[in-house]
Amino acid sequence: MRENDTRENDVILQTVSKIAVFIILTFGMYLFLSGHHNPGGGFIGGLTLASAVILLYITFDLETVNKGIPIDFKMVAAAGVLLSTLSGLGALLFGANFLSQSFAYFDLPLLGETELTTVVLFESGVALGVVGVVVTILINISEDV
């Protein structure tokens, strides 16, 4: 997020970030998946993932990160909103109300009996929406600098 010419000596920050980003990303995914029974969920998971990306942008400059992660976060936000809205429509096909969620237990190989639920789709939409919006806002404000 800084200009190339005013580069400071931030070797420590960069080294730590390279590792920390993966820890935060893993933690974010964990939060997202554990949200059904334990603390976590789409919103927190999304925010945590977003903060990992933001850490990257703070540590390295915009151009470097954009080269490494060539994702348009506006599209991520739009896809998230679309996903969470459309996931509600699925219920209509089964005669249920808009946004009704359902769940069932399946016997999956390796995992044993596992609960699968449609709320995951909805929550992924929320998470993507949060990541997209937060990163878009931060990138744009910093690009304006």
Partner: protein
């Protein structure tokens, strides 16, 4: 989800695949692919004809938001079927016509067909739904798609003006209609139109009955371009001609007529309804025809003629509603004929007016102008077009052997019968109707002859034409040929139409008459030498005279000075409301953030604090509180000192970090009170916000010692102190007041109900998923807002005045 539901949403889903087709097959004219949609729909609706003509109706519903009585309910009866066939039938012809009319190279076809399909779906929704609110939704959607289509050539100033005008007027009427619908719902307790019809007698004496009636009529009049709201239709002619043929003559402008017909069983028989519908209708018929003769542009002439014809049908619906006064009996069955004629003419009008618009499009396309002062003598150059123009114009003028003759004669009959009514003062005032009908019809004959003879006969002036005139290609001609053959066919076989479509529609509009004798009249082309025939002869003679002696009486129009015209009034209202709202907005939008915060908090303190104070809700009850632990006390001390220190910091950085201390302490509070989800959220949000703050520093001015005089500071101190105090008081009062049992025990069963053990998340994702969804949408809108504020700067030299 029934077949009917699928038919409604089919064109709207087609919009989604239009860009894919356009990308996949760039060499194909998109119209060919789209043509399948209306043809499929038309055939599907045809299959309903046997059922409907046996006087069955089809109903189905999907519940949408049952708590609000919102159901996507569909209802198909004769009336809806007539409209559905018109929408899809004329729609097919228009799409076919547009393939040859719109150039693939020059026009943005994906946009055009997307808007057109959107309109088709919306219009089908309007005529097929049984739920008031869903009807309103589709109603406004037709206004939106009409707006987009009028502004299709959006760089033209006149297109912008016409689109805005039509949108303001029709949506304004739509909102009035919504209010009427809400009143109906209040009166009847239901949003189903069919249920409201069956409750007619119990709601008739309600005090909201007349207001609801007037408001719903406002919606119908604005949409169907009735006087004085007709002014949007001529400006809407800036749309491409296929759009004018489709939306602004055959379908959308008839939505108002549909609404009137649909609600006739509810409001019909009421004097207000009778006089408003028939009076406005007949006057519109006269007014539209009067101004149609003056037009120099062929499309403008057709626009005014459409206004006039819509008024004619409207007045028939009004006259026919008298039959419902005081219940149905065998004597009043004769008045129902008016509604029958209205429906008949509605179909006829769609055929000949659709054809006429296409013909004008052909002339415009082939010659390069629509100005009748430049046209003339095209008869030898465009013989087929000329023939088609003769058929459709003379049908409009009410001449045999075309369908317009039948409905025009029956229109005279209906106005003459209406003078025999003994109610609504019709015995004295009733003579107005045949009188205006006769004058209007004479004018109609005149402008129909102007249309044909000024264009096709007279002097051929090559030098005034932009292109070398030539007969149109066969592709452009097929659609008007089909419509013109319908014009002739309906003259010879009108009773087939009546049996399969008009009769079921009549049973739907006037259910109390269903099965009565003479309820469905037999249509005759020849019924002896009676008043109607003499009226028609008078129309021909008078109309021809007016046409020949146009120069002698054209000064009549100088009686209407342009300074006080309705158009001018519309512009005045627009500019006055614009300048007033500008002045009002500038009065409080000072540009200082502190002023805005001042408004917001002052409002909060007055309204919330005031309410709580007046109702005596400030209760401090510490009996149920848990004892304060050592960690909590420590946290409070930390937070307090951080908050106070902010006031005395010298740099922004310090202030932000101290603010962050407050946020993190709240997170620790959440941990202490065992709310891990909230604590996690708070921690991450606090982190991201701090980063945002630091970024925004770049844009902020130097942190300077601001004006420290007391006049500025005292209000600030008062506002901030009372906002803080109010928040604390509310928090304490919430604990002190226990108005009802906590509902949290319900959510404790989250594992059984939603399969999740985390109550917070099951609430977010399942129990209250709609809230979460809308929050995500709001967040997204905020994100787009930030993006556009920063990225989308004003073009050409950075002028950021958005009111351009």
């Amino acid at each position: 989800m029934s077949f009917l539901h699928l038919l409604i949403v089919f064109p709207i889903f087609a919009v989604a695949i239009i860009p894919i087709i356009a990308k996949a097959v760039p060499r194909l004219h998109l119209g060919w692919a789209i043509l399948a949609v209306p043809i499929f729909l038309f055939i599907s609706f045809i299959t309903f004809v046997p059922q409907i003509s046996a006087n069955e109706t089809i109903a189905a519903a999907i519940s949408w938001i049952p708590a609000l009585d919102l159901h996507f309910a569909v209802y198909l009866d004769g009336l809806s079927l007539i409209f559905a066939l018109l929408i899809t039938g004329v729609g097919s012809l228009v799409v076919f016509y547009s393939i040859y009319y719109l150039s693939k190279e020059r026009e943005s076809l994906p946009h055009f067909y997307s808007y057109l399909m959107l309109f088709m779906g919306a219009m089908l929704g309007v005529v097929l739904t049984d739920n008031l609110m869903v009807l309103y939704l589709f109603w406004e959607l037709t206004s939106v798609s009409s707006f987009l289509l009028i502004a299709f050539w959006y760089r033209r100033r006149k297109s912008q003006y016409g689109a805005q005008k039509s949108f303001l007027i029709t949506v304004g009427g739509g909102i009035a209609m919504l209010m009427g619908f809400i009143m109906l719902q209040v009166m009847s307790g239901t949003t189903s139109i069919q249920e409201i019809i069956s409750m007619r007698n119990s709601i008739q004496d309600h005090e909201l009955f007349i207001p609801a009636l007037v408001l719903i009529l406002l919606g119908a009049f604005t949409k169907s371009a009735q006087f004085p709201f007709h002014i949007w239709l001529p400006d809407a002619m800036e749309a491409p001609t296929p759009v004018s043929a489709y939306l602004h003559s055959a379908t959308m402008v008839k939505a108002g007529l549909f609404l009137v017909a649909r609600f006739t069983p509810v409001f019909g028989g009421e004097a207000t309804w009778f006089w408003l519908v028939s009076g406005v209708g007949i006057f519109t018929m006269f007014w539209g025809a009067l101004f149609a003769m003056k037009q120099k542009d062929l499309k403008a002439l057709l626009a005014y003629s459409t206004i006039s014809q819509l008024g004619l049908i409207m007045s028939l619906f009004g006259l026919g509603s008298a039959a419902l006064n005081g219940g149905a009996d065998t004597d009043s069955v004769v008045y129902t004929t008016a509604i029958f004629v209205g429906l008949f003419h509605l179909v006829n009008h769609s055929t000949f007016k659709g054809a006429l618009f296409m013909i004008v499009g052909i002339i415009d396309h082939g010659v390069g102008t629509r100005d009748i002062r430049k046209l003339g003598g095209l008869i030898t150059l465009m013989p087929i077009t000329f023939t088609l123009a003769v058929i459709s114009s003379f049908s409009m003028a009410g001449m045999p052997p075309f369908n317009g003759f039948l409905s025009k004669e029956m229109f005279f009959t209906a106005t003459l019968t209406a003078t025999e009514l003994s109610i609504f003062n019709m015995d004295t005032l009733g003579v107005v109707f045949p009188g205006l009908a006769l004058i209007g019809s004479i004018f109609t004959f005149t402008y129909s002859t102007i249309l044909v003879f000024r264009t096709f006969t007279g002097n051929y002036q090559r030098e005034k034409l932009e292109k070398e005139p030539h007969e149109a290609s066969i592709g452009l001609l097929i659609s008007p040929i089909i419509l013109c053959s319908l014009v002739v066919l309906l003259f010879f076989f009108p009773n087939q139409l009546s049996r399969f479509l008009l009769a079921p529609a009549m049973n739907g509009i006037l259910p109390s008459y269903a099965g009565a004798e003479d309820f469905i009249p037999h249509i005759y082309a020849w019924h002896g030498f009676n008043t109607e025939l003499f009226m028609t002869l008078g129309v021909v003679a008078g109309g021809f005279l007016l046409f020949k002696k146009y120069n002698l009486w054209k000064e009549v129009y100088d009686l209407f000075p342009s300074r006080i015209s309705l158009d001018n009034g519309y512009r005045q209202i627009l500019s006055i409301s614009e300048s007033t709202s500008n002045r009002f907005t500038n009065f409080y939008m000072t540009g200082f953030l502190r002023h805005y915060l001042f408004y917001i908090y002052a409002f909060l303190i007055t309204v919330v604090g005031g309410t709580l104070f007046i109702t005596g809700s400030f209760v401090l009850n510490t009996a149920n509180d848990a004892p304060i632990g050592i960690y909590e006390a420590l946290l409070v001390i930390i937070m307090g000192s951080a908050a106070v220190s902010i006031l005395f910091t010298k740099s922004r950085m310090t202030a932000t970090l101290l603010n962050g201390v407050l946020g993190y302490c709240i997170a620790i509070f959440f941990v202490l009170f065992r709310a891990p989800d909230l604590a996690l959220t708070q921690l991450v949000v606090e982190t991201v916000t701090t980063v945002l703050f630091l970024l925004c520093f770049y844009h902020l001015p130097e942190w300077s010692k601001e004006d420290r005089n007391l006049k500025v500071r005292i209000p600030k101190i008062i506002i901030s102190a009372s906002t803080g105090a109010l928040t604390v008081l509310i928090a304490l009062s919430v604990q002190g007041n226990r108005l009802f049992e906590s509902i949290s025990s319900y959510f404790e069963e989250s594992y059984e109900l939603a399969g999740g053990r985390n109550i917070v998340n099951t609430i977010l994702g399942d129990f209250r998923a709609l809230d979460t969804m809308l929050e995500v949408v709001v967040l997204f809108i905020a994100g787009i807002g930030v993006y556009t504020l920063i990225k989308v700067k004003a073009q050409d030299g950075g002028d950021s005045d958005e009111r351009k």
